[in-house]
């Protein structure tokens, strides 16, 4: 990018002491590593700093520090921007959608992984193939489907859609995971008289815990960030919006009202829980998000 000269020089001066062997290469790669780190850090920190400025300060001096900590932006974002409400809406939807996804996904994956029956492969590919479908293609028929059964613009409708669209990856990943579990334990439990249901809930699910945790994290992040589906399926009442949709509304309104301070504050508010969760569970999140890719 041609636009990072200031950051680049800052990054260069951070380069570590060169060694005799490959000193230039070392300097270059260290500089580049720091440049990229700054490209992530600088915009995020800048948004946080800017969220304490007045809208006039933001426009007149984008790079400067705020003259005084302007906390009103946060009050505005919380009350006029309804950020708190959007949070609650999202949590409410996801409590059901993530639970439902995991339960239905685990059930389907378990049967597909450990039971032979006609049509098994077909179902597996029907689920796995869903990962490739471009969602746009289904949006309008989906809109009509929900409208016909009266679930358009309702949370139950959105929950069902979230579950359905999270199933492909969940089933794909968990099927692979259930296949790797040892058969010996299952056989022993069967000998001891466990039926199919007890075997699943009391033996196999606990054994699959690492896989379940990874994919739960994946689904939480995925559904928290979902934007397209609620945009189409939950559009009637702005107060019902989920968080990403609500932020977009805030961004749109800021364009008319010119209150960019509230927008920055709202963005920061939306980032805070993600940031805390990320710092705390950084290892698990990285494992969970990349889990599906490593077979």
């Amino acid at each position: 990018m041609a636009t990072d000269t200031a950051e680049q020089t800052a990054a260069r001066s951070n380069g570590r002491e060169p060694r005799s062997e490959g000193a230039v290469l070392n300097l270059f790669s260290q500089g580049f590593l720091w440049l990229w780190a700054l490209m992530v850090i600088v915009p995020v920190v800048w948004v946080v700093v800017t969220s304490f400025k007045t809208s006039r300060e933001i426009a007149s001096d984008p790079l400067g520090l705020p003259a005084a900590m302007h906390f009103e932006n946060y009050a505005n974002a919380w009350t006029n921007g309804h950020i708190g409400g959007y949070f609650l809406n999202t949590v409410q939807v996801m409590a059901f959608s993530v639970t439902g996804t995991m339960l239905l996904g685990a059930m389907a994956a378990y049967v597909l992984a450990r039971y032979e029956f006609p049509g098994n492969r077909l179902l597996y590919f029907a689920f796995a193939g869903g990962m490739m479908f471009p969602v746009f293609l289904a949006l309008f028929p989906l809109f009509k489907t929900l409208q016909n059964v009266g679930l358009l613009n309702t949370y139950p409708g959105l929950v069902l859609v979230y579950i359905a669209y999270s199933l492909p990856f969940t089933v794909f990943f968990l099927t692979a995971f259930f296949r790797t579990l040892p058969t010996g334990v299952a056989e022993a439990a069967t000998v001891d008289g466990a039926g199919h249901y007890r075997l699943f809930f009391q033996v196999m699910l606990p054994m699959a815990k690492p896989g379940l945790i990874a994919i739960t994290i994946f689904n939480i992040i995925g559904q928290w960030n979902q934007f397209l589906l609620p945009l189409v399926l939950l559009s009637r009442n702005p107060e019902d919006a989920v968080i990403s949709q609500g932020l977009a509304n805030l961004a749109l309104r800021q364009g008319y009202e010119g209150d960019s301070g509230a927008l920055f504050a709202g963005t920061v508010l939306a980032m805070i829980p993600i940031f805390i969760a990320y710092v705390l569970f950084q290892r698990q999140i990285q494992a969970g998000l990349t889990a599906g890719a490593i077979k």
């Binding site: 850090i41 001096d61 984008p62 471009p134 289904a138 934007f227 961004a251 490593i294």
Partner: protein
């Protein structure tokens, strides 16, 4: 155990398969059907008009053709840049350092870098869109880059980067790369972790530098992962829409300079009321994704190296 086997299978599959068929498979099937009609989306009447929509797609110079061109550009640039950066960072952070006694390890601060690079991956695309819209904004609206450029005395686009036809597509792609690199860094890192260290130690003894180690040892052994990453990024590239929707003027502008296929489907379906036409474009997108996946799976695998 044979007892009650099929009732059990049925009871476990009924809900997930039913829900999936109802809300995923059926809408997709309907979209294929709609694409063969002249349905506007609002009325209840429509006629089957065969493949007319598909023919007309490629005559639409106003939206569809620019969108196909831009999505094509993203389809090439996004995987190439993201995978190159991801591989480079993963190599530097895992193997690039020369520790004491010639041990193979990452450069200093590797853990910190990994945490930082991955962070955009957990941010929602809505937040990323808002964040970068502000970063790219014109100077008198508080833009970060324009402000920085002016501060050091360099010229900056007067209306910001997103309102400038020359920069808008590159600006969107840069954000896509920015948010994706961390994921592929971690992805390639875990693949690199499975490469035995003695291969590198042997390389060092034979006097290989880091360039040679990367191109002669790491890259050939990572080929499977690169291929997987390529498929993922291609699908992401074909689905680009939300960022364009959130960041660019007129949701694809200025003057169609950042129009993408997803956005055009959206416009025809929800703004212009041309449901059938939008569906036809969606079907084209679907087959593009399918073709890409099949091609890279068929022609990708080289002979597998066991280690």
């Amino acid at each position: 155990m044979r007892h009650g086997r099929y009732p059990f299978i049925l009871s476990f599959l009924a809900l997930p398969v039913g829900l999936y068929a109802w809300l995923v498979i059926l809408p997709f099937a309907q979209a294929f059907q709609i694409s063969l009609t002249d349905w506007s989306g609002s009325s209840n009447t429509f006629n089957y008009i065969g493949l007319d929509n598909y023919v007309n797609l490629f005559k639409d110079e106003r939206l569809v053709l620019p969108a196909l061109r831009h999505t094509g550009i993203i389809l090439v640039v996004l995987p190439v840049v993201t995978i190159s950066l991801g591989l480079f960072f993963a190599f530097m952070l895992n193997l690039g350092g020369r520790g004491r006694q010639g041990r193979i390890e990452g450069v200093r601060g590797a853990r910190f870098h990994k945490i930082v690079y991955f962070f955009p991956q957990v941010l929602s695309v809505a937040i990323i869109g808002i964040l970068w819209k502000q970063v790219y904004a014109p100077e008198n609206f508080g833009g970060l880059i324009t402000g920085a450029l002016t501060a050091v005395g360099l010229p900056a686009p007067v209306n910001g980067f997103l309102a400038d036809k020359r920069f808008v597509l590159a600006a969107v792609i840069a954000v896509l790369v920015w948010s994706a690199v961390g994921f592929y860094l971690v992805f390639f890192s875990s693949a690199m972790a499975s490469i035995p260290r003695d291969l590198y130690e042997a390389g060092i003894i034979d006097g290989a530098g880091r360039f040679q180690m990367f191109f002669k040892i790491t890259l050939p052994l990572l080929w499977d992962s690169v291929q997987t990453a390529w498929i993922y990024l291609s699908i992401i590239a074909l689905d680009v829409f939300v960022l364009v929707y959130m960041m660019t003027p007129e949701r694809g502008g200025p003057d169609t300079a950042s129009e993408v296929v997803g956005g055009v489907i959206w416009k025809y379906a929800f703004n212009h009321g041309e449901q059938a036409f939008a569906s036809a474009l969606g079907v084209v997108l679907f087959f593009a994704a399918l073709t890409l996946a099949v091609v890279s799976l068929r022609f990708g695998p080289r002979e597998r190296i066991e280690f």
